[in-house]
């Protein structure tokens, strides 16, 4: 680390790890409910567990992105963050809003719109929080010596992500309109602007780890984010097939969303070829594993498993089944979970001054969590495909089908245990590193 204010990143990463732990606990509650063990029903009904699980997911990833930005922007702009005290206030308020929302979900205080369950009054606090964050980032960038493509793409992603939160706050009487604009948040986030954030972090990591010339890396970064938007914006249409809008979306959504995997393919090829090309071999092998891992796993989870159900003829049958959950898990994990892990693994030694590269715990964490998540994806996939055939093709009743596929949730729970063990190792390592120190500053 070169700037003292970069230490802030550590606390955002720590919050991220804490929320991830809670997310996993609620994941298990749902997996058990699917197996038929819903003993917690009275206190934590399924809809509570689900809202907590998915909202914690979004918040831990956002917290990771914010930490990443607080680390990357000073280094790229060659300037200390402008207002560190305010940034700590922002951190604490982010944690508070998250906690209040999650407690609220246990007491029927929510908005009941998938992924956007945060009640309206808290939405405004989220907006203030994110504006504060962006203010600090943009001012630092403005005052800094340099404005690199990497930092601009990252910042652009963060600014657009904030703007796109707003359509989700409009109230509609018509369910179709509600759904239409909900996708401007959910889809345009994960298949649009978040890819800019991911691309920016990935470019930063590749520059640092492989030592390949910045100009080359940033050129490909533009190509990747170009592919993202060209396919992803009109690709929103893959959520408009069956919600009450016209048939044009079947064609537009089908064609453009089928092109979306190209951006992820480009990201995977980009990471691997920069790694091959790089002469400098950075000793931080764990960070390298996560960096290549995120590029490849996101292509599988988002690209391939997204493509698997994105054509209207297929989506007609898979829409709103466990097939979606299969894709949702590997896509979120591969693209956004793993990029956060990559930046944490890269920055921790720099923040704390302890160079625990190459540790067995770190490698175990990588392999256990990834193999576990792949297993979970398969379990959801088998359950989902069975559900599609039995319910949508054969016409069996929903509940009878659920009884038939209960067994796959045992498999899910076993793989989830493996995943959680990997995460446990990762967090153990995180704690072992200790807190950031002044001595770690190097020029």
């Amino acid at each position: 680390m070169k700037y003292n204010s970069q230490k802030l990143a550590y606390w955002f990463f720590a919050l991220s790890m804490l929320l991830l732990t809670l997310q996993i606990i609620y994941g298990f509650i749902m997996a058990f409910a699917h197996m038929g063990f819903d003993g917690l029903h009275e206190f934590i009904a399924f809809n509570t567990a689900r809202a907590v699980h998915t909202n914690l997911l979004v918040v831990w990833i956002l917290s990771g992105f914010m930490g990443a930005a607080y680390y990357i922007i000073p280094e790229e702009a060659e300037h200390e963050l402008v207002n560190v005290k305010l940034a700590y206030v922002q951190l604490i308020s982010l944690a508070l809003v998250g906690v209040v929302a999650i407690i609220g979900y246990h007491f029927n205080y929510w908005e009941g719109r998938k992924f956007l369950e945060i009640p309206r009054p808290l939405d405004y606090l989220v907006v203030v929080n994110v504006l504060t964050f962006l203010g600090i980032i943009v001012t630092t960038l403005y005052k800094g010596k340099k404005r690199t493509t990497t930092s601009l793409v990252l910042t652009m992603g963060l600014v657009f992500a904030a703007l796109l939160y707003l359509p989700g706050m409009i109230w509609f009487d018509n369910q179709t309109m509600d759904s239409f604009f909900r996708w401007w948040v959910v889809h345009l986030w994960v298949e649009g602007v978040w890819e800019l954030i991911m691309g920016g972090i990935l470019a930063f990591l590749l520059i640092k780890i492989t030592g390949v010339d910045r100009e080359v890396i940033e050129k490909w970064l533009y190509v990747i984010v170009g592919l993202t938007f060209i396919s992803g914006i009109l690709g929103t249409g893959h959520h408009y097939y069956y919600i009450g809008v016209g048939k044009t979306w079947l064609i537009v959504g089908g064609i453009f969303s089928a092109l979306e995997p190209l951006a992820f393919l480009a990201m995977a090829l980009f990471a691997v070829s920069m790694y091959r090309k790089g002469e400098k071999k950075h000793p931080n092998k764990i960070a390298l594993s996560w960096t290549l891992g995120t590029a490849i796993t996101s292509f599988v989870g988002a690209g391939l498993l997204g493509l698997a159900h994105t054509l209207p003829q297929v989506n007609m049958y898979t829409h709103g089944t466990l097939v979606t959950a299969m894709h949702g898990h590997l896509a979120f994990w591969g693209a956004y979970g793993m990029i956060v892990f990559a930046i944490i693994s890269y920055t921790l030694p720099n923040l704390t001054g302890r160079k625990l590269y190459d540790s067995t715990t770190g490698l175990l964490a990588f392999w256990l969590s990834n193999i576990g998540m792949l297993g979970m994806t398969v379990a959801f996939g088998v359950a989902g495909v069975a559900q599609v055939y039995l319910e949508r093709k054969m016409g069996m009743d929903f509940g009878d089908v659920q009884k038939e596929i209960e067994v796959h949730f045992f498999v899910l729970a076993i793989c989830a245990t493996m995943f959680a063990t990997g995460i446990g190792f990762y967090i153990y390592e995180f704690i072992k590193y200790g807190q950031p120190s002044k001595e770690a500053i190097q020029n």
Binding site: G112, K114, K393
Partner: protein
């Protein structure tokens, strides 16, 4: 080979063009298609109140509607057609968790007015033109054909 500034032009140009097309298509959909396909004229106060109940209780946290939501409980887009109003009244007003095959639904304990509002909401949802969703099961056993 491609230069960095060409790559930037590709990014900016592509984004602006697709975004403008996207806004145009969205505008046509929302102004021309949605009012007709969703029968906006039937959006009565009861339907809207029903939607509000649907949201404030996070029904989408277990069920799907228009194929969106969670995968723990049945898809409800065509529930009126599938189950009928009598069955729905029983489920919605139940004082203990409704639990067919032992999987429990939250006992929302809705009052009579609320139950009717929810049913009106589902009737309105059931009438939206969804391009054929949910699909009709089309399996026929060939063994039983004489």
């Amino acid at each position: 080979m491609l230069s960095k500034s060409q790559a930037r032009t590709f990014f900016l140009g592509g984004t602006i063009i697709t975004f403008v097309v996207f806004l145009g298509l969205s505008w046509t959909s929302l102004t021309k298609e949605v009012p007709k396909r969703t029968h906006e004229e039937n959006l009565t106060a009861d339907v809207i109140a029903g939607k509000h109940l649907w949201e404030s209780n996070n029904c989408m946290g277990c069920h799907t509607i228009l194929g969106e939501g969670a995968y723990y409980a049945p898809e409800l887009t065509k529930v009126v057609e599938r189950r009928g109003e009598g069955y729905m009244r029983a489920v919605l007003s139940s004082k203990v968790p409704w639990a067919p095959r032992s999987r429990k639904m939250v006992a929302h304990n809705f009052n009579e007015v609320e139950v009717e509002q929810l049913i009106e909401f589902f009737k309105w949802i059931g009438n939206i033109d969804l391009n054929g969703f949910p699909p009709k099961p089309d399996y026929k056993s060939t063994n039983n054909l004489k």
